[in-house]
């Protein structure tokens, strides 16, 4: 890109998901991380595809969308820098059940699910650390979903 300074290097360990994590899991995973930049409108994940990576968003905005057969797609949440996306690879069947689309230019680090899974299986303490970080994210999404379900504004 002309005249635009090269983007800063994305460091896995500095993402809030790993921040302050004990031990050397971030350092161990860092070599596996692949940097990706999505332009506006690019799909990060597609419903039904094999869930093959764990995405750490550093900057930008991603819309999580539900596709319904007879209706226009609905965005149920947007995620920004500092957030993570994609854990279906941890659970059978390892398939995405949402679409995720960049609604702004988005930069991420992505960890390939297969290698991540192998590592976490091999080192239970890594696995535990990882799940301890992941659980609050899932809990918060569940919480938000419940509140959206209550349709508070609809009353």
């Amino acid at each position: 890109m002309n005249g635009v300074p090269p983007p800063g290097v994305l460091r896995l360990a500095s993402h809030p998901f790993f921040e302050g994590m004990k031990g050397d899991l971030p350092q161990t995973l860092a070599p596996l991380a692949v940097e990706r930049t999505y332009a506006f409108g690019d799909m990060l994940i597609r419903e039904g595809d094999i869930a093959d990576r764990f995405v750490l968003i550093f900057e930008g905005k991603v819309a999580l969308e539900i596709v319904l057969p007879d209706r226009p797609r609905v965005t149920i949440q947007t995620l920004g820098g500092g957030e993570v996306l994609g854990w279906s690879w941890l659970l059978p069947p390892p398939e995405w059940w949402l679409d995720a689309r960049a609604v702004k230019r988005t930069r991420c680090l992505e960890l390939p699910a297969a290698q991540l899974r192998t590592l976490l299986d091999a080192r239970p303490e890594y696995g535990y650390q990882f799940l301890l970080r992941l659980l609050p994210v899932v809990a918060q999404r569940l919480d938000h979903t419940r509140m959206q379900l209550m349709d508070l504004h609809g009353r």
């Binding site: 797609r73 938000h144 959206q148 209550m150």
Partner: protein, 289 residues
């Protein structure tokens, strides 16, 4: 520190019973969303405009139908044009949202406590509005912007159900265009036309840039939204002593005698609707109180 207050029902001073509504005229009306309108009311000839504090409400009356408590949503510097944003949710609000230009709407009030603007001076100010929680906060924003130099950073978060449910849409674009405040909007769900945030207002809280030790927050919206937002603000370092909420309960009299609006020992019409979160937090967490 308690919310600021003003004697209720100034019209009592004229010797008229506090139960009697004054017939105001619907001067303007505009649809905000499919079920929400904003009306501008003017007093009858010879009746002076009554000043109100941001956060106060009026009992609006539709002849033959009844009354509803509706927050004043206009600029406190212009009480002669009494602005209310009403969502059609019941018999009275439904009738109010049908009120045609030139017809009459009865007004009793203003009642209740207002947002403590004096306490906000010299501080960062956070306004978080959920759904119809924006109208009661809009008068605050007018005041903050009128005396911008008195306040630190101003962070506004406004969430609605869908983009179609956002009120004051054009005004929001104006506010978002300003550089002396940050106005974030978010919706619970959206279609492809929406490029903004989707998610609860609480998700916007971590992003706000405030000095939590020197910030005041005003929250208005569904009770559960206010509770979770307060929690998110506390996670950012704020305390319950700097967070104010606006509560809503069944109101018939607005003068503290019908008993309906009580939350624990508080009369929401008289000790509220604006409360310091610290003072009501315990009551908000009791089931069926």
């Amino acid at each position: 520190m308690a919310a600021s207050s003003m004697p209720a029902g100034p019209r009592d001073g004229t010797g008229v019973s506090p139960w009697v509504p004054v017939p105001f005229r619907v001067e303007q009306r505009a649809a905000e969303t499919a079920d929400t309108i904003t009306i501008v009311l003017t007093p009858p000839k010879g009746v002076p405009a009554t000043p109100f504090l941001p956060g106060q409400f009026n009992m609006l009356y539709v002849f033959g139908v009844g009354e509803a408590a509706i927050s004043v949503a206009g600029d406190p510097a212009h009480p002669e044009a009494l602005i209310h944003t009403v969502r059609s949710a019941g018999k009275v609000s439904g009738a109010l949202s049908q009120a045609a230009l030139g017809t009459t709407v009865g007004v009793r009030g203003p009642y209740g406590t207002g947002w403590p603007l004096a306490a906000a001076e010299g501080k960062d100010v956070v306004l978080v509005a959920g759904g119809l929680g924006l109208p009661p906060l809009r008068p605050v924003l007018y005041e903050l912007l009128r005396h911008r130099e008195r306040y630190g950073r101003i962070e506004v978060i406004y969430g609605a159900r869908t983009p179609k449910d956002l009120v004051y849409y054009n005004q929001i674009q104006e506010w978002r265009g300003r550089t002396d405040l940050r106005f974030q909007t978010t919706v619970d769900a959206a279609d492809r036309e929406w490029y903004g945030d989707v998610g609860l207002v609480t998700a916007r809280v971590p992003d706000i840039r405030i000095d939590p030790a020197n910030t005041i927050a005003f929250l208005c919206g569904p009770e559960i939204m206010m509770k979770f937002t307060a929690r998110a603000l506390e996670a950012k370092g704020m305390t319950e002593g700097s967070i104010y909420v606006s509560l809503e309960r069944n109101m018939k009299c607005a003068i503290g005698v019908c008993g309906h609006c009580q939350l624990g020992p508080e009369f929401v019409c008289r000790n509220g609707p604006v409360f310091l979160y610290k003072d009501v937090r315990r009551f908000l967490s009791v089931r069926e109180l």
